[in-house]
Every structure is written in C-alpha cells, then in structure tokens.
C-alpha cells in the first residue's frame, strides 16, 4: 500500500511542473498573443471609420494588407498644370522671377549630388515626373519616383513603419504621400520651436 502512495506521489510531483509549464506557455503574455494571432483582421468591419473628405487615389502598388489609397498631390500644387506656362510662348522680362520658379529653394541631395530639376521632372512633358529610366510618373504617385533612391524608406512606407495613416487605423488604408510631409525640393524637416512645453517633473 505504502508503495502505491509513494508512486502516485512521485507521479504527482512529475505532473505538476509539466502542467504549470503548459500554463506559462499559453499564459497570455503580449508576445505570445501576438505570435498566436495570424488571422487577418477585417478592419472594414469597423463601420465608424468613414471615408475621408480628402481627395485620394488608389496606390499603384500593394502592401501586406492588399490595396491602399494615398493622398492626392496635384490639387495642392499651386501652379498645376505646368503645361499652361511651359509652352513655346515668349516670356516677358517682368514675369521672369515668377516663371523661373525663383521661390523654390533646392536642398535635396548632398554636396555635389545636389539634384537638378530634370532629374525628377520630365523634360518633355512638364505635367509629369520621370524616373531615371525616363518612365513618366504621375504627380499623385510620386512615391514611385522617390522610391528609386529612397528604397528603404519606401519599403517601410508600404509596410507602415515610415509615414502615417490619415485619421483612421481601421477601415480602408489611406496613407500620406511622400510629398504630403516632405517638400520635394527641400525634404528635410525644419528646426522650429516646439508646440508647447512641459513643467519640471516634480511639479
């Protein structure tokens, strides 16, 4: 009799740690929960994510969640369409400053690699951009152009680690274009005073 008790006791000693290990493995730590969640979430089901009152275009590429939309650019360009001025018409001297884009400060590319206009703008049709192979790119899809040098940023932008979504985390994915945040001619962010300030920690 004693032996049976002893044996069952030993068995119990063995079983308890195994059971507790199992409990720990499914213990609901955040990393475990993330690891276990591999089923795509239908974020269109959140019906309070309305369409934005902004002009967007369907992205020409895909992200891990399928298709997405980017903020349109053309409506925000002051002097679009470019071909209105870029014609064979003669230019008056008094309009020269305006017509030669004297207001644009170029600060894109470092040192001797500073960019010139036609490295991004199409030489023949000014209503388009052009990549290094000469392929025409629409202003609304400038990410295709920026991505030829900034391919790391573009990869992260498609995935979601660079740039940002507009207003909603759910619903159809609407993200900002490169030019929504960066000025294409001087893309670095400026230094400025912060929006507000914080009191010292002990107050």
């Amino acid at each position: 009799m004693k032996k049976i008790f002893l044996r069952s006791g030993l068995l119990f000693l063995f079983l308890v740690p195994v059971a507790s290990l199992n409990a720990m493995a499914s213990g609901g730590g955040v990393m475990d929960r993330i690891h276990d969640a591999d089923e795509p979430f239908d974020s269109m089901a959140i019906d309070s994510a309305y369409q934005l009152p902004l002009k967007t275009v369907r992205g020409k590429e895909k992200w891990q969640g399928g298709q997405f939309r980017v903020l349109a650019r053309k409506d925000f360009i002051n002097k679009f369409r470019c071909s209105v001025c870029h014609t064979d018409k003669k230019v008056l001297v008094k309009n020269a400053a305006l017509f030669t884009h004297g207001d644009i400060v170029m600060n894109h590319g470092q040192g001797d690699d500073g960019l010139a206009c036609i490295q991004c703008h199409d030489e023949d049709n000014r209503d388009f951009l052009a990549d290094s192979s000469g392929k025409k790119i629409d202003f609304d899809h400038s990410y295709q152009l920026c991505g030829q040098c900034h391919f790391r940023q573009k990869r992260d932008w498609l995935g979601g680690a660079h740039g940002k979504r507009d207003v909603y985390w759910a619903g159809e994915r609407v993200i900002r274009n490169c030019t929504s945040c960066h000025s294409p001619h001087s893309p670095a962010f400026k230094t400025k005073m912060p929006e507000t300030y914080s009191l010292p920690l002990d107050q």
């Binding site: 955040v30 929960r33 891990q64 969640g65 979601g160 207003v167 985390w169 507000t196 914080s198």
Partner: protein
Amino acid sequence: MDSRKKEGQMKTIDILEKKTSRRSFMKKLSIAAAAGSAGLVAGGCVGTSESTEEMGLKWEEYFKKNYRMMTPEEKDETVVRLEKLAKLQDGVDIQMSNQEPQEKVLFGYAFNISRCKGYMDCVEACVQENNLDRNSKTQYIRIFEMDSGQQDPTSGDGKYHHEVPVENKYYMGIQCFHCENAPCIRACPTKATWREPDGIVVVDYDWCIGCRYCMAACPFWGRRFNWGKPEVPKEEINTKQHYLGNRKRMKGAMEKCTFCVQRTRQGKLPACADACPTGSRVFGNLLDPDSEIRYVLKHKKVFRFKEELGTDPKFWYFMD
C-alpha cells in the same frame, strides 16, 4: 483673548476626560448619523441655486456601481445622466459614449526614436483631445531630449524649450504603456482601474479614492493626479467623450492616457498619432498580422522600456 483660549482648552480636556459608557456612545453615534444623512438630503436644497433635476441626477450618480458591475442599461443611463449634468452644470452639449471594445482587437503602439523631432504637436493635441486640466498644465505625454547612446529617459531633458531638433540629440516620448501585466491595476485598493479586453488600461473616475497607490506603482510615470479641480475653458471642451476616457474628472481622481478610447474604438488613431507631423507614432491592432504595428514589430529593431520588470508593456520603441 487669553481667557477665551483657556476656556476652549478646558472644554476639550473636559471632553477627553469624560468617560463614556458604550451605550451612550452608541446613542450619540446614531444621532450623529441621522443628522448627517439629513444634512446630505437637505444640503442640496439650502443656500444653492441647484435645480431639482440636477439634484436628482447627482443623487442617482452618487449611488451608481463600478462601471464593470453595471448592466448595459445602467451604463446607458449613467451616460445620459452625465450628458444632462454637463448641460445643467457647465452649459455644454456633450455626446458621451460607452462603446464597448471591438472583438479581436488588441491595441499597441510603436514610437520611432530616429524620426521624432521633438515638436510636441502630440502633447498639445492630447491636452485638447482629452480635456486635460489647463491650471496645473497636466500632460499625459512627456517628450525627453536625449543624448545619443542613452536609453533611460531620466538621463534626458523632459522640460526643454528651444528650437528643435538639436543636433546629436534624439527625442523619446513617454506615456502610459498599457501594460498587459500592469502593476497599477494590482495596486488599486478599490478596483477603480483595470485593463479592458482591447488592452486599454482605464480608470473609473467615480470609484477612484485618490490614494495614488497606482501612481507609486507605475514604473513609467504614466499616471496623473488631480490635486485641484481640473479646469478647461468652456469653448475648448472636447464634447465627444467616453465614460472611460476624456469625460470630466474631479478633484482627487487619478487619470491617465487611455489611447484616446473615445477615438480608437471608432477606428480613429489616438490624437497624438494623428497630430504627429513626422510619422513617428504608429498605432494599430496587434492581433492583425497585416497591421502597421505588426510590420514594425517584425521588420524593425524594437525595444521596450524597462522590459525586464515584466510588466509586458504594449508600447515599443523602434529605429530606422
């Protein structure tokens, strides 16, 4: 003057020395209790201009349950009462929600320390969105200006005010990390704070007794206490509110970042992430393998602040 003082002293000594029997003590106690409750009832009527409706609402509000114990009907009722009270007391038309968490959603946050420029648009947006006290300048988010190579915000400057970004510095934002294993929740003696199924750690302001144990328990300085009555200019009040979020707080209540529960449960980004001009703030559903936050966790170098404490925060820092 002197004699009067002495008289007072004599009286107190008298009371202290007088031996009371248990029976007389109980008798006095019951009288005092009766007088007290009468005062509570009468208190509203005498000397104030409160309407009967307001009194009734406040009375019902006083006896409501902890939010987690309420039935859906009771939740709807208290929300309606609070809307009416806001109209009566402050003359503001608010829309309060008690929207429940969505299924299969667990909110998570990532902060890009190599992109943040320290502009603090997030801090200002948070103050506006969450009706934070303007008197004490309460802020849920604090941005630290850090020397490169440092990872501990205590080594940084949390009160900088100069042109940003400064060369060779980086900026690190701290707010509530909504830990899965949150020490603040365990510290609360009245169960006034808990983690919702979508991962947001919330406070029932009406059940908070203001002991500030949670504040002491939080290793991330994530909680804020109302030492005074929080005040927001009437025209700046955000009228879109949630019971567990940005509704009116009272003196002596604890509050904290709620991932903007009033926004995020409707599919919107938190105000800080929406306001960020640099795209340093990534927010999304951790249970969705296609979400942006999951992309960050999978493809970027990430770390969590004080991960070794085992609080399991749902807030990651990452770099490009």
